[in-house]
Amino acid sequence: MIHFVLLISRQGKVRLTKWYSPYSQKERSKVIRELSSEILSRGPKLCNFVEWRGFKVVYKRYASLYFCICSDQDDNELETLSIIHHYVETLDRYFGSVCELDLIFNFHKAYFILDEILLAGEMQETSKRTTLRLIAAQEELLEAAKEEASSLSSIIAQATK
């Protein structure tokens, strides 16, 4: 099972955190501090696994971002690595060659996509197409709600003229 997912920039800034196991807010910031210093200090050619507090943290760097997933000791590290890649590819398709700025300004979208891939610390959907279709469907709902709201306000505006 995956315990948490972290996205950390090369400067150590947190870009996304997702917790599937209970960690108090204090523990969370401690975990982030510990891991980011450990992972950011590792050289480029080393393996992508770090043993940490009896868990395994699998990380991979894409451009300026480190994607980290902490999972159980006996989980398949190579699969976790593939999950990271799967998530990155999905983001890439959604944003169209994703970059760090996309994830900063649209951090909530990065969360929504992650929520379609992982749930309860397990893999939920292995098809990128399905994931993106579900995201698109929900965005349509948003648009519809927005239109409704604006048409409503225009009606109100007209009525109050």
Binding site: K13, K18, W19, F49, S82, H108, F112, M123, T126, L141
Partner: protein
């Protein structure tokens, strides 16, 4: 609109806020910007404006991610979730997952909203609720909402079914009792074609198997075949772009299926049998250099290793791992090492074939790989391969990073002490390790080395020479220095005379002054801590007796420390100086070679079980010649060898000194070896404080006797005056209770006689004898006489009478006195004491009282003997000496 100019407006868009924060150049600026933003959000929250709720929450999440407190936004999450629209709900649930964790009370408030949303018309809202539930639900929520989730497992849309399946995993993890409700719907989902549903169903089944034995049995019986077929179809499926990952269809599903099969196959031969074919197929046909393919192979190997044995498959699996191990990709090598660790228990021989490769991995540049490899080597070591493996590891110790040395050293030490085939090899390896990485060696490890050397009497010479040779080259490692100094002090004579040369040794010529030089150089080294220096002082003291010709020079070295600012060293210096200068006669006995340290005791200590101290005292004090105390226990304490739990080296060193001090002034200050060193000090302090006669005597070691002493000391004043009769009355003292009453009338009778104080009576030349000590089995009487012309010195003749019906053998009497006294014991008249008072042992000794006239004599005694070979110990304190002695 500028948010900074108008803090009361929530009008800044999320995008603008992020931009503003990113524009901050310093941390202080960022804090200020966020403070302003938070103030604006709070105001907006207080105004309860639903239009901006959505935006506020999004901003709060960003602020939260930067690590600022956002607890004030928690209620906003709940409000958003409770609002009817999809956009609000979506952001509300996201906030709920991010800003809250399952331990917060607020979470309970959301249960009702979740329940409503799980029953919502809109399937996306149901999806949101399931997602939140799956990620953060607590046990209470799990109980409340389990029926809804169970129902959703049959929802028309597959995307809801898959979410419900994963939600169920969380629920059964939180409340395992609920597992049985989920078994049927879960197994039904296994038949689905939709990959999302299938993979989640497989995971749910795996978790059901983990929490419930019945579920495992059920799924094993009903689903094994179907799962094998599903995996076969998947492995043989043609290219499908939707699920393809570098040429393999849905590796995630592959892996989850293999994982579930592993659970089903474990401990069940039939189930294992039915999956053999497909495992062989996956193991042989999956061929690629991509991560996904290797992930499947890795999972497949793990399953093969876990299910019930099939020789052919195991060979295949080990072969795959071998290939992994030679891969250039660090990740692949890492997982190979990880897997080999599990394979060791199943087939150690097969793993041993890769020994060379694994040893290479220990030297890898990557810390994660090194760690794995080292752990693997550690479990691979056995008696037959310990030598080559250790040689490799020790040679690597020279080159490895500092970070890794600690781990490596600990493992080498553990391997060496566990599997060493012979002591000489152990000593050699430990010396190498200490030289290379002494600072990483734990204290008990170098102490263990001393214990081993001490126990290998035939290797004493070899060890001290080997240490000496190595020590000449390097003295940078403190732990090594300590061992070397200890050995040179103990076995210095063997070093000089090349005693006990082994064939493999080269002859070395070391003169006495070379050895002293070496220690002198060491003790002058500023980098060493004072424990080492204190050990060096002890070594010098020992050498002063081993090498009488260097004695004067050693004294000079020792004297330099008498002004040292470390009290411990200062004290040692002064005392050792006095031993060398003034107590030549006892010095050689004092610094005799230490008795063999008890290996079993030490190991027992290490294991945390304290052996009863009696055994130690038996080990170290049995063979003591009468009247000579060997500071064995105290030295052991000095090294802290048998007190992992007890005082720090420094303080135990202090105890040793105090003991030694007792020795210096009076032999035999073994104040109860069964006391901890600390109470040893107490005893001495006691001794010192009771210098002023009578007063209640408290001595932990003499509880059985103290009552007798109390009686004696309480009646002391009268006694002194009735002294001439003491010889008589002491006869009746054999039974304590009657003694006083019996004596009392006589005292009365004689009161008239002895009305004048004895002091004036006969100028101190005649003193009454006293019964110094008495127990049910033993009586000790002291007779006093003064040396003419020396008022300070008293000659005392001690007479021991055996009151029991058994003969005492190996009878030893020891005594200790406080600082203001000096004691010299002569040899006893014998060591066998016949039964029933048919004879006695006498022993003469002299006490010199430097405070004659001001303080009376006081003495602590200890008597050991054997009855039919059984050790007996009696202790007591004597404070009923006549005054003015």
């Amino acid at each position: 609109m500028d948010p900074i100019l108008n803090p009361f407006s929530s009008g800044t868009r999320l995008r603008d806020m992020i931009r503003a924060i990113r524009a901050c150049k310093t941390a202080a600026e960022e804090r200020a910007a966020i403070r302003k933003e938070c103030a604006a959000i709070r105001t907006s929250i207080n105004e309860n404006d639903p239009d901006y709720r959505h935006r506020n929450l999004a901003k709060l999440m960003f602020i939260h991610m930067l690590g600022y407190p956002t607890h004030f936004g928690q209620m906003e999450c709940l409000k958003c979730i409770a609002s009817p629209g999809f956009p609000e709900k979506r952001i509300g649930y996201l906030g709920l997952m991010l800003l809250l964790d399952e331990r917060q009370e607020v979470l309970m408030l959301v249960t009702n909203s979740l329940k409503q949303d799980l029953n919502h018309m809109n399937q996306y809202i149901v999806g949101l609720a399931l997602c939140a539930l799956g990620n953060i639900c607590s046990a209470e929520m799990a109980r409340d909402l389990a029926p809804e989730v169970e129902r959703l497992l049959q929802f028309r849309d597959p995307n809801i079914r898959k979410k419900a399946a994963l939600c169920s995993i969380r629920i059964i993890k939180k409340v395992p009792d609920l597992a049985e409700n989920f078994v049927k719907p879960a197994t039904a989902l296994l038949k689905e074609k939709h990959h999302g549903v299938l993979i989640t169903a497989v995971q749910l089944c795996a978790d059901l198997c983990k929490v419930s034995r019945e579920a495992l049995e059920h799924i094993r019986k009903k689903c094994t075949e179907g799962l094998v077929r599903t995996l076969k179809d998947l492995a043989n499926s043609s290219y499908s772009p939707e699920y393809d990952v570098s040429g393999i269809t849905d590796p995630f599903l592959h892996i989850r299926l293999l994982k579930l099969l592993r659970l089903l196959g474990e401990g069940d031969a039939d189930a294992s049998d039915s999956m053999n074919d497909i495992l062989a197929q996956v193991g042989t046909k999956t061929e690629s250099n991509k991560v996904a393919a290797n992930a499947i192979l890795y999972e497949c190997v793990q399953t093969i290793m876990s299910i019930e044995g099939n020789g052919g498959l195991r060979v295949l699996a080990i072969g795959i791992l071998g290939k992994f191990l030679s891969n250039r990709d660090n990740n692949i090598r890492y997982v190979a090492l990880n897997m080999l660790m599990k394979a060791v228990t199943a087939d150690p021989q097969a793993v041993l074939r890769y020994r060379a490769t694994i040893l290479e991995c220990v030297k890898d540049a990557d810390a994660s790989i090194r760690k794995r490899a080292l752990e693997l080597v550690y479990v691979l070591v056995n008696e037959s391969n310990v030598k080559p493996l250790t040689t490799e590891l020790v040679s690597y110790l020279e080159t490895c990073d500092q970070d890794f040395k600690g781990d490596l050293t600990a493992k080498i030490c553990s391997i060496v002490s566990k599997f060493s085939p012979e002591k000489i090899w152990y000593i050699d390896q430990m010396i190498k390790v200490l030289l290379e990485a002494g600072s990483f060696v734990k204290d008990e490890v170098w102490r263990a080395l001393i214990v081993v050397i001490s126990n290998a009497s035939e290797l004493h010479g070899y060890a001290v020479r080997a240490l000496y040779k190595a020590f000449q080259k390097s003295n940078e490692q403190e732990a090594f220095t300590r061992v070397a100094i200890w050995c040179i002090g103990e076995y210095g004579d063997l070093l000089i005379n090349n005693v006990g040369m082994l064939d493999l040794e080269d002859r070395i010529t070391v003169t006495e002054s070379d050895a002293v030089d070496l220690i002198e150089i060491t003790i002058q080294c500023h980098a060493l801590d004072f424990t080492t220096k204190a050990m060096a002082l002890v070594a010098l003291l020992k050498l002063s007796s081993r090498f009488p010709s260097c004695s004067e020079r050693i004294r000079e070295i020792i004297v330099k420390y008498k002004g040292n600012f470390v009290l411990e060293l200062q004290q040692r210096s002064i005392e050792f100086n006095s031993i060398i200068a003034r107590h030549q006669n006892i010095r050689s006995m004092l610094v005799e070679r230490m008795p063999v340290l008890d290996e079993a005791t030490f190991i027992g200590r290490q294991a945390g079980s304290l052996p009863d101290a009696g055994s130690i005292s038996a080990g170290s004090s049995v063979s003591l010649p009468n009247g000579v105390a060997k500071p064995a226990d105290s030295l052991v304490d000095l090294l802290d060898l048998n007190s992992n739990d007890a005082p720090a080296p420094s303080s135990s060193g202090g105890d040793f000194l105090q003991d030694l001090l007792g020795v210096d002034l009076s032999p035999a200050a073994q104040s109860g070896a069964n006391q901890t060193s600390k109470s040893g000090t107490d005893a001495l302090l006691d001794l010192l404080s009771v210098g002023s006669v009578s007063g209640p005597v408290e001595s932990p070691s003499a509880q059985s006797n103290s009552s007798a002493i109390d009686i004696l000391s309480a009646s002391k004043s009268e006694k002194a005056s009735v002294s001439p009769l003491d010889d008589l009355s002491s006869l009746s003292l054999s039974s304590r209770t009657t003694s006083i009453t019996g004596a009392a009338p006589m005292m009365d009778l004689l009161d008239g006689f002895a009305s004048t104080p004895p002091k004036s009576e006969n100028n101190g030349t005649v003193y009454p004898s006293i019964t110094a000590f008495e127990s049910s089995s033993l009586q000790l009487t002291f007779n006093f006489s003064k040396q003419p012309g020396n008022s300070q010195t008293t000659n005392i003749q001690a007479t021991f009478i055996n009151l029991s019906s058994d003969e005492y053998t190996d009878f030893i009497f020891q005594a200790a006195v406080p600082k203001f006294l000096q004691l010299q014991l002569d040899p006893a008249s014998g060591s066998t004491l016949p039964a029933n008072g048919n004879g006695s042992i006498t022993q003469n000794f002299r006490v010199t009282n430097s405070q004659n006239g001001k303080k009376s004599l006081v003495m602590r005694i200890r008597i050991t003997y054997k009855i039919n070979g059984k050790e007996k110990l009696e202790e007591g304190q004597i404070s009923n000496f006549p005054r003015d002695l």
